[in-house]
Amino acid sequence: MSVAIMIASFFVFLALGIPVVLSLLAGSLTYLAFNPDLSILLIPIKLFRATDAFVFLSVPLFVLAGKLMNLTGTTESLIEFSDMLVGRLRGGLAHVNIVVSMFFGGCTGAAISDTTAVGSVLIPSMVKKGYPKDFSAAVTAASSTMGPIIPPSLAFILYGAISNVSIGDLFLAGIIPGILVGVFQMFVVFYYAKKYNFPKRERRYTARQALKCFKEVSWGLMLPVIIVGGIATGFCTPTEAAAIAVFYSFFVGLVVYRNLGLKQILSAMRDSAIESGAIMIIVAAAALFGWVLAMEQVPMKLAEAIMNVTSSPWQVLILVNLALLLLGMFMDYAPAVILVTPILIPLYIQIGLDPLQAGVMTCVNLITGLATPPVGCCLFAASVISGEAFEKVCWAIFPFILMNLLVLALVSYCPVVTTFIPKVIFGH
């Protein structure tokens, strides 16, 4: 009974526009109020215990590495490099927009900074070359959803840390789905480019220019290789890989490009700390909330209830995916991953879904919400940058989101999409 009131008060607080973390806290507090034998000191203790895990130290460090990489001007060289690769295709700049997000995802992994950094350069030049405004904004926002899927990825770190699935495996498993999102979205661009006869780049790169361009970009592209390689080979833990990534970005910014100032570094450090603090406190509050849920066996009961409706795995997966898509439309992916992971794990186990595949599915699903109306933050940012009305961008992004859903279906129903690379590397 008291657990029902706890869940209800969580949703009431959420509906009032109170931050997720405080709604979780309020819910747990009502549970304590109904169970006076539990000490109120449980709240500070549980909050504290959850933040006291070494693996979560990787969160501020990864965020910082991404911010530093962005400051060193990697964005420009990534755009130039992508232009060299796919700019000659019809609809060149739209393809560049997608390919650059693929690389950007490896370097920083933050979707919103992908939209703003890439969008503020590419959207104006796309519009100037005659692409429709809504299409330019849509392709920018949609391609940003690749960033959090392609490793290193915050969503996978959170899922892995909560569910005890190896973060290295998750990173490797995210590579194919991430690239597929980009490739499928490029098909959409091909279709529109042919229909509306979009321009392409006429100039050709000479071999020397191409080499110079590759040299410029190789510093940035080394970062995901170091991180994923380091974790996957077992050389370092995710937290250590994140620290190496930070020092690598310092090295690139201070020694190679020499364009990082002390002031920039300090404010990047402070902002990363605040951003990750706001994520970590949700992890802590969700651990408290989830502890009560687990004590009352809510996840098990939920799994049973769903299995009573339908016990065939593929139908359960449809239900879960629809529920997650709905959640992702209203909530940012990081808090959503933190909230649903402990609740869904028993269900995944019951239908015999590989926890690795389940993790990629959960993350890919929730990340789609970054670019869906009504509150997708990438969609907002792209519409602000392009100056196009939000509603028009929402319509224009629809075909791209369909491609994300196609990849989601592949991830949900074809284990090979996620397990192929981890299998090849580890042989299990």
Binding site: F13, G17, V21, L22, I40, L41, P44, L57, L64, A278
Partner: protein, 173 residues
Amino acid sequence: MRKMLTSAADLAWRVSRLVCLVAMIILTPVVFANIVLRFFWGYSLGWSSEVARYAFVWLTFMGTATALRDNSHAKIELIINLAPRTWQKYIKILACVLIALLSLFLIVSGILQTIKVWDVSAAYMRFLSMSWMYLAIPLSGLFMLIFMIENIVILCQEGEKKLAREDMSCLLP
């Protein structure tokens, strides 16, 4: 009165941002140094992971307080945006009052816990009491309380115009 409140909130905001920065400055090299030590000399420093954890706890709770004033916590505002315009102000005031009550609870329970563990020292750094770690909770609660009182006063006096950055333009580079 209003002026004093604003300067108190400004001070709390500055302190929490500063603590976040300092925590990050400590945490990054400590974690990195540990890898270097382990890789070249094959051992790691016990106290280093403890320092990193202290820094991380402070970063988490001070980041939480800062993000509350910056209005950057994850939340769902769609439902209150559907409410009639005149109600929205009152719903927002109600939300601020509820958050203030929660912060008050964090202060009380946090102080109780901080006092309780005063005699418990850290595993490696014996001279350091665990209280220094738990202290982050009531302090974060205090800052949040100040920010919420400030918000309530602003909302009552002049509507929501002057509330912290709520528009999307802050996303632009």
